[in-house]
C-alpha cells in the first residue's frame, strides 16, 4: 500500500508545529535538536582526533572553529544541548506517568489533564534556559 493509498500525513504532517500547541513545537524541537547534537557529536569526535597530528594539526583545527561562524555554530549547539536536556527530563518523567494527571471522570469541555500547566512550564523553561545558555556561550566566546 502506497503512502497515498494509506492517506498518511507524511513527514510534513509529523513536523508541522502549528496545529496542536506548544507540545507539538517541543516534539519538533526535540527531534531537530537530537539530530543536530548527533551530527555535532560525530563532528566533535572527528575534529578532536586532530590532536593526534600534534600541535600544528591541533592549532589548525582550532583556527577553523574559532571563527565567527564556528562560534555561532557552537552557540546553537549549546542551545540544542540545553533544550534537549531539560525537555528530555520532562519527557522522561512524563513517560513514567509523572505529572500527567490522575484519571477522573471527564467533564465537558474536556480539558485533557495530561496537557497541564506543569508540562507547558517545563517546555517554556527548556526554551528559555536554552536561550540563556546560548547567550552566555556567545558572551564567553565573543567576549574573549
Amino acid at each position: 500500500m502506497t503512502n497515498q493509498d494509506e492517506n498518511k500525513e507524511g513527514i510534513g504532517g509529523m513536523i508541522n508545529p502549528r496545529r496542536y500547541g506548544i507540545e507539538r513545537v517541543a516534539y519538533l524541537l526535540m527531534r531537530l535538536s537530537g539530530l543536530g547534537l548527533l551530527a555535532y557529536f560525530i563532528g566533535h569526535i572527528y575534529e578532536t582526533s586532530s590532536i593526534l597530528k600534534g600541535q600544528i594539526g591541533w592549532n589548525a583545527f582550532l583556527a577553523i572553529t574559532q571563527t565567527n561562524a564556528g562560534h555561532a555554530i557552537l552557540a546553537i549547539v549549546i542551545a540544542m544541548c540545553v533544550f534537549h536536556t531539560v525537555n528530555g527530563i520532562r519527557v522522561m518523567l512524563g513517560h513514567g506517568g509523572v505529572g500527567v494527571g490522575k484519571p477522573a471522570r471527564p467533564d465537558y469541555p474536556y480539558i485533557p489533564a495530561s496537557q497541564n500547566i506543569r508540562h507547558k512550564m517545563g517546555i517554556y523553561s527548556a526554551i528559555i534556559l536554552a536561550a540563556i545558555a546560548m547567550m552566555y556561550g556567545l558572551a564567553v566566546m565573543f567576549g574573549e
Partner: protein, 114 residues
C-alpha cells in the same frame, strides 16, 4: 532485545550523560574557555587518567543514546522488514565505529602515542 530494554538503556544513558557532559563543559569554563583548548592543556587533560576515562564513558553513552535516537526516528519514517533490519544493524555498526574511532584518539593520546 525487547524494545523496553532498549528504551531503558536510552533513558539511562541520557541521565548518565547529563552529569558527565556537565563536568566536561565545566572543565572548559573553569580553566577559561580559550586556555582550556590550548594544545598543552588538552594533552594534559587526556593524560589525566580519570578524565580520559570520563571522556571514554561519555563517548560510549552518547554514541548509544544518539544512534538509538536516530534508529527510533528512522523506524518511524518508513516501515518494512528489510528496511528496519538495515536501520537497526546500520545504527549499531555506526555506533561501534564511532566508539572505536573516538577510543583510538583517547587511548593514543593518553598513552603518549602521538
Amino acid at each position: 532485545m525487547r524494545e523496553s530494554i532498549i528504551m531503558k538503556i536510552h533513558y539511562g544513558t541520557a541521565l548518565a550523560a547529563i552529569a558527565l557532559v556537565a563536568v566536561h563543559i565545566l572543565m572548559r569554563l573553569t580553566q577559561g574557555f580559550a586556555e582550556s583548548l590550548e594544545y598543552d592543556s588538552v594533552i594534559a587533560n587526556y593524560k589525566f587518567l580519570p578524565y580520559a576515562g570520563m571522556l571514554e564513558i561519555i563517548l560510549i553513552l552518547l554514541s548509544i543514546h544518539g544512534f538509538n535516537g536516530l534508529r527510533v526516528i528512522l523506524l518511524e519514517l518508513k516501515q518494512g522488514r528489510t528496511y528496519e533490519k538495515a536501520v537497526s544493524y546500520g545504527c549499531v555498526a555506526a555506533m561501534i565505529a564511532l566508539i572505536a574511532y573516538g577510543s583510538r584518539t583517547i587511548i593514543m593520546v593518553n598513552t603518549g602515542m602521538t
